[in-house]
């Protein structure tokens, strides 16, 4: 097929520009930015365990709305509602991002052939975004569902999930996939809409952020495994000192 054999847009007015093309592109970028920013906050919150159980406990209480309860303990339903919202955003992002997938075998072959013939870093980065995006179809919902059905978060409760319920395996796979996908994605969305022209600086920042986020993620995962290893079932929730 050549460009000439395509149906000219003028012959069929309906297949020209479509309002949904613009909407889909905007939704993809907006949900992507939202999820990317959420991930940045999320990874830092959960990594507060590196500052000790007390620090993590306090972060959880604040995020669960502890200041609104008489006991100072938060409400796990906050986590459940937030997880459902995030799930909705993920579904929306996945639905519009699916347009980009090489869904036909011919498209996949064209992509692989292109990568073999042409050396281009940003195209290769997109390929990894594609691969990690595909992985996230399966890993992200598992994690979010767990938080909806089992929202208890705390130094000991999270350690139980990671160590005794074997969630470390999920997290070990999810962490690199989501970090790589999100950081390359944030870089791409910035250059895509012309938010900044400093591309090389952004690329460096994205690389640094990938290394940094995976590092703090791995360290906190290891510390949860360590905490979980030291606890025996049934798990007693962590009680902060001074209470």
């Amino acid at each position: 097929m050549t460009v000439r054999t395509l149906l000219p847009a003028s012959a069929t007015p309906d297949i020209g520009g479509h309002p949904w093309s613009a909407k889909a592109d905007k939704i993809q970028s907006a949900t992507g930015i939202l999820l990317g920013c959420f991930l940045l906050a999320h990874l830092h919150f959960e990594s507060s365990i590196l500052l000790g159980k007390q620090a993590f406990y306090q972060v959880v209480q604040i995020l669960e709305g502890g200041m609104f309860s008489e006991t100072g303990h938060g409400f796990p339903i906050v986590t459940q509602i937030f997880s459902m919202l995030i799930l909705l955003v993920v579904i929306l992002h996945a639905a519009v991002a699916l347009r980009r997938f090489p869904v036909q075998i011919g498209q996949w072959r064209a992509l692989r052939r292109h990568m073999n013939v042409i050396k281009h870093k940003d195209s290769h980065a997109w390929f990894w975004q594609l691969v990690t995006g595909f992985i996230l179809f399966f890993l992200a919902p598992v994690h979010i569902f767990t938080m909806i059905t089992n929202p208890e978060i705390g130094p000991h409760l999270s350690a139980e999930r990671v160590y005794h319920a074997n969630a470390w395996l999920l997290y070990a796979l999810l962490l690199p996939a989501v970090v790589i996908h999100a950081m390359i994605g944030l870089y791409r969305v910035a250059v895509k809409w012309g938010i900044t022209a400093n591309r090389s600086g952004l690329r460096k920042l994205a690389k640094v952020m990938i290394i940094y986020l995976i590092t703090i993620g791995v360290f906190s995962l290891v510390s949860y495994i360590y905490i979980g290893h030291g606890l025996s079932l049934p798990i007693e929730p962590y009680v902060p000192t001074g209470h």
Partner: protein, 247 residues
């Protein structure tokens, strides 16, 4: 200068060979050896190869100065103009040449970019659509501001070499995608105050998955364009313009 200094190193060219017109011919890579000369470009080397070693070697060239856009090919994995690529930039002395992917192959390194560009121009209507009052030839044209003229001239530097099309993975996956050259040329008319087309008219041409919303910002166009055209900024500009348009 003594004789040893003037004797250049031996370059190895690994060239894609295939003639679709010849029955039974199969695509293959063929090795050629050539002695490097001072200031040698890939284009000069190809001409020497054709003159002294293999007269059947097919490749395109016209201007030898990076203006006609005919000699674009993939040189060691980077699509670029052969006439602007010095062989001394390859310290190992090994150079692999492939035809530009995504175009009709005429033979060996020669591809039909002209046919593609013409079809694209017809599809996107890449010519000036004058204002109705400008149809009167006796009327004096409104002068264009030097700033506007400079902006248009910047985009008019495109030589239609086809590098952006070959460097674009999106284009390789989706044949009907217009690519950077199409968007660049359309942006040129969008910026032109003499063009009567409105944002809505442009939206009808590129406001879809084959146009600006199909671009995945892989930036192969930006990174490989031999004329250093501002593809990234230009596509982002069109995208913002099209995304903000309300119909």
């Amino acid at each position: 200068m003594n004789l040893i200094e003037t004797k250049g190193r031996s370059l190895t060219f690994n060239i894609f060979r295939y003639d679709p017109q010849e029955a039974g011919d199969k695509p293959k890579m063929v090795k050629y050896q050539i002695e490097e000369t001072p200031g040698m470009t890939v284009f000069i080397a190809l001409n020497m190869l054709r003159e002294h070693q293999d007269t059947s070697l097919q490749f395109d060239f016209v201007c030898r100065a990076g203006i006609c856009g005919s000699c674009a090919m993939v040189i060691n994995g980077l699509p670029t103009l052969a006439c602007r690529t010095l062989t001394k930039n390859y310290p190992k002395g090994e150079i692999t040449l492939m035809p530009l992917p995504g175009f009709e192959l005429i033979g060996d390194l020669s591809v039909n970019t002209g046919k593609f560009m013409r079809e694209l121009a017809e599809r996107l209507k890449l010519w000036l659509h004058p204002m109705s009052e400008d149809a009167d030839v006796h009327r004096l044209e409104t002068p264009m501001s030097p700033q506007e003229a400079a902006k248009l001239y910047e985009l008019d530097r495109c030589v239609e070499c086809g590098v952006c099309v070959s460097a674009c993975a999106t284009k390789q996956m989706r044949e009907s995608f217009v690519g950077a050259v199409g968007m660049m040329k359309l942006a040129r008319f969008e910026l032109d105050s003499r063009d009567s087309r409105t944002t809505e008219d442009f939206y009808h041409v590129i406001g879809n998955q084959d146009g600006v919303f199909g671009c995945m910002t892989l930036l192969g166009c930006q990174d490989n364009c031999p004329k250093d055209l501002p593809h990234m900024q230009q596509i982002a500009y069109l995208r913002r313009k099209m995304a903000m348009a309300q119909f």
